[in-house]
């Protein structure tokens, strides 16, 4: 029985919080030092494990990752994903618990750490390689591969401060990816860079995966998680779930996101381009054939009642769009006042618009609803995740079977013949 590549056992990490961390300031320390030298000496030994001003960024995280497994860490912001990666990369020390990494670790928490803007691409390859743990000969050996992968060959002797951010990311990822790690820790670094290069990076990670290497991957892109990972761990408030299959993990993540969306619409975070204006979107009500405000059987009707308030002072010919997004954040449908009905409206003190969709042919999965108020092409206010709907199985095809949300976005009828 081989040992797992990563074993994480009851890792906890505490941070001291407080508005002004007075006990750590220079003056305070000097004062304490004069008043009570022994206590200050003891303070250096203290490990913040008790007290009110302690925040547990990680609170008992345990899991094991087998060799060759690609594990996705998912969770909302502040769930402790990045802290965990930092602990496993040995950047910060856990407050208690233990983790064992078996194999050479390469961690990519930020693209281009250690890059120096004044140095050229060539010089940075050597410097960054050394920082990531490669020897000079090893870098020399892989130099050509790194350059080729990064596609910055022409600018190799230009200081990286003159690089575009895309080139910068490409070069940095290339160096890290050629470390030949046995365990690769990747934070959401792929969020930068263009689509083509993201694909290339994902491809490189798949290569690493196929060579039986272990990858620990954090992303908010469920698409990347779904296409790369074999299992996921769902992190919530510093605690980890058990390892679970990707579908189930994404589901848990979305459920949590939806639970967090229990806020009334008027309190939800929004993007507003109207200066100093109170929220316009006030309420959304989802009507479904099932009578439940969330569950929509495939192919049945769904309706949205959107109430807007206090926007009499907003000028222009306004439009309202209701966007439906799938679990991977992809927009799958848009219901729009102007496109669907030729309707624009003026600001008012209060207004409720009703949208009725006779049939929603989406495949069974979770979907989120976005609201967008616009004047022509100018977005004025936007609320993402204003509501969530759950499209559930309904035997519309008459076969007792349906494509799932992973196999297809929509369920459309067709005929087959021999």
């Amino acid at each position: 029985m081989t040992k797992p590549a990563i074993s994480v056992e009851n890792i906890k990490k505490a941070y001291r919080i407080g508005l002004e961390d007075q006990s750590d300031s220079f003056g305070a320390t000097i004062k304490h030092l004069i008043k009570n030298p022994l206590r200050v000496a003891r303070k250096f030994n203290e490990d913040y494990s008790s007290g009110d001003d302690v925040f547990w960024a990680l609170n008992d995280v345990s899991f094991e990752v087998q060799r060759g497994e690609v594990i996705g860490l998912i969770g909302r912001n502040g769930a402790g994903k990045s802290t965990l990666l930092k602990v496993l990369s040995r950047i910060v020390e856990p407050t208690s618990g233990r983790a064992v990494m078996r194999g050479r670790v390469s961690s990519l928490l930020e693209v281009g750490t250690g890059f120096h803007p004044e140095l050229t691409g060539r010089e940075n390859i050597y410097l960054n390689g050394a920082i990531l743990g490669m020897g000079r000969n090893e870098i020399k050996q892989k130099f050509d591969q790194i350059v080729e992968f990064s596609e910055v060959g022409k600018f190799l002797d230009t200081p990286v401060k003159r690089y575009s951010s895309g080139m910068y990311v490409r070069l940095a990822f290339s160096v890290a990816a050629h470390l030949d790690p046995e365990i690769m820790i990747v934070d959401e670094v792929l969020a930068v860079g263009d689509q083509a290069f993201q694909q290339k990076c994902l491809g490189k990670m798949s290569d690493v995966m196929r060579q039986g290497r272990t990858i620990l991957f954090v992303s908010h892109s469920m698409d990347a998680i779904a296409s790369l990972c074999t299992t996921v761990v769902h992190m919530k408030k510093g605690c980890s779930s058990a390892k679970m299959p990707v579908e189930q993990g994404i589901r848990a993540y979305l459920d949590e996101a939806a639970a967090g969306d229990a806020l009334p619409l008027s309190k939800k975070p929004r993007t507003s381009k109207i200066e100093d204006h109170e929220p316009v979107f006030h309420e959304i009500n989802v009507r479904t054939a099932s009578g439940n405000s969330v569950m929509v059987p495939v192919g049945t009707s769904v309706g949205f009642d959107v109430t807007m308030r206090n926007f009499a002072d907003v000028p222009g010919n306004l439009t309202l769009g209701i966007g439906i997004n799938n679990a991977r954040g992809q927009r799958v449908a848009l219901f729009h006042t102007e496109y669907h009905k030729g309707l624009t409206f003026r600001g008012a003190d209060e207004m409720t618009l009703h949208c009725d969709v006779p049939s929603l042919p989406l495949a069974p999965a979770s979907y989120t609803v976005d609201l967008v108020l616009a004047d022509g092409y100018n977005m004025l206010e936007k609320v993402e995740r204003a509501a969530q709907i759950e499209v559930v199985f309904n035997d519309v095809l008459g076969t007792g079977k349906l494509p799932t949300g992973k196999q297809s976005v929509v369920v459309l009828p067709c005929t087959w013949s021999e």
Binding site: I91, G97, R102, S107, G114, L119, E123
Partner: protein, 324 residues
């Protein structure tokens, strides 16, 4: 014991061969460390090339954008020598030097070690703060960061010594051999070792303190400004003395021909660990009398500085990423 018995079964049993062909993975255990952490020498040795690259980066970056590039490594000490020579002539320090040492040489032999120590205090102290990304986004042996800073200062020191040697040669020739460094110049080598130990200790201590208490970034430049005066770098230590004179106003000499001092505050300089080093360089190069008290004290204080600096650094290292 159990290992021994295992190896016996291994030779009898063919199965363990499969086990031995399996790759052995290096194991890294991550857990909270308690107390004063020892130094992982093995890790430092395996990462030694990183230290080289960090030094190389610091040197390269320092002169990269400057139009005259590395020429500054030469111009800066030369300009300082010029300034302090002129000041010294006006202030009358120059009359207090011993023998027929040209005053610029006198100044340079003090500035040579001091400029190195100064960059250790300034650059070393700021090294962690200036490399926060390396602390918070990646793991590497952090002790390398201040060490590399000292390494790049040592490169400057080396360049500066070449210029100093050229200057010595020039004065030997131009004075027709009237000025000649003492044979004791070879003691510059152990003094340089002492100086590097002092610089490393200072850099470890100050860099760790600066990242914990940012106030120091304002205090440190002040320390070095004061230090050049408290270390007697640009004037002779004899200004802290008054020679004994007879009634005719002649300086009294002892049997060995050395000046007898009526007042001598120089022993107080022994409290400054750097004073012994700077004066040591002068004694070695110019043949001034050795200040044994200062030198002994410097050896003790600098060793202490190194040990305290290193242990304090290791002690707070685990919190760097949380604070940076």
């Amino acid at each position: 014991m159990s290992q021994a018995s295992m190896s016996v079964t291994a030779t009898e049993n063919p199965v363990p061969e499969a086990v031995s062909s399996e790759k052995v993975y290096q194991e890294t255990i991550i857990r909270p460390k308690k107390g004063w952490i020892g130094i992982d020498w093995k890790e430092l040795i395996t990462h030694r090339e990183l230290l080289f690259f960090l030094v190389w980066r610091d040197v390269k970056v320092k002169y990269k954008q400057a139009m005259f590039g590395a020429a500054w490594a030469i111009v800066v000490p030369l300009a300082s020598v010029l300034i302090y020579t002129v000041v010294g002539k006006f202030a009358g320090f120059a009359n207090r030097t011993i023998g027929n040492t040209p005053y610029p040489i006198y100044i340079y032999s003090g500035l040579l070690p001091w400029l190195f120590l100064q960059s250790a205090i300034n650059g070393g102290g700021m090294s962690l703060v200036n490399n926060q990304a390396l602390l918070s986004k990646i793991y590497l042996p952090r002790i390398f960061i201040p060490s590399a800073m000292i390494g790049s200062s040592a490169v400057d020191l080396f360049m500066s010594s070449i210029i100093f040697t050229l200057m010595l040669t020039y004065y030997i020739i131009s004075t027709g051999g009237a000025f000649m460094p003492s044979w004791q110049i070879i003691f510059v080598i152990p003094l340089t070792v002492l100086m590097v130990v002092a610089a490393l200790g200072t850099a470890y201590l100050l860099s760790a303190l600066t990242i914990m208490f940012r106030d120091l970034r304002f205090i440190i430049p002040f320390i070095t400004q004061l230090g050049i005066w408290l270390t007697a770098v640009v004037y002779p230590q004899t200004i802290f003395t008054r020679a004994a004179k007879d009634e005719q106003g002649n300086t009294l000499l002892d049997a060995a021909g050395q000046v007898i001092y009526a007042v001598d505050y120089r022993p107080w300089l022994a409290l400054n660990p750097f004073a012994g080093i700077v004066q040591g360089f002068r004694s070695a190069i110019l043949g001034e009398p050795w200040q044994w008290l200062q030198l002994t004290s410097s050896i003790v204080l600098c060793s202490l500085l190194f040990v305290v600096g290193l242990f304090y650094f290791k002690r707070v290292e685990r919190r760097f990423a949380d604070i940076a």
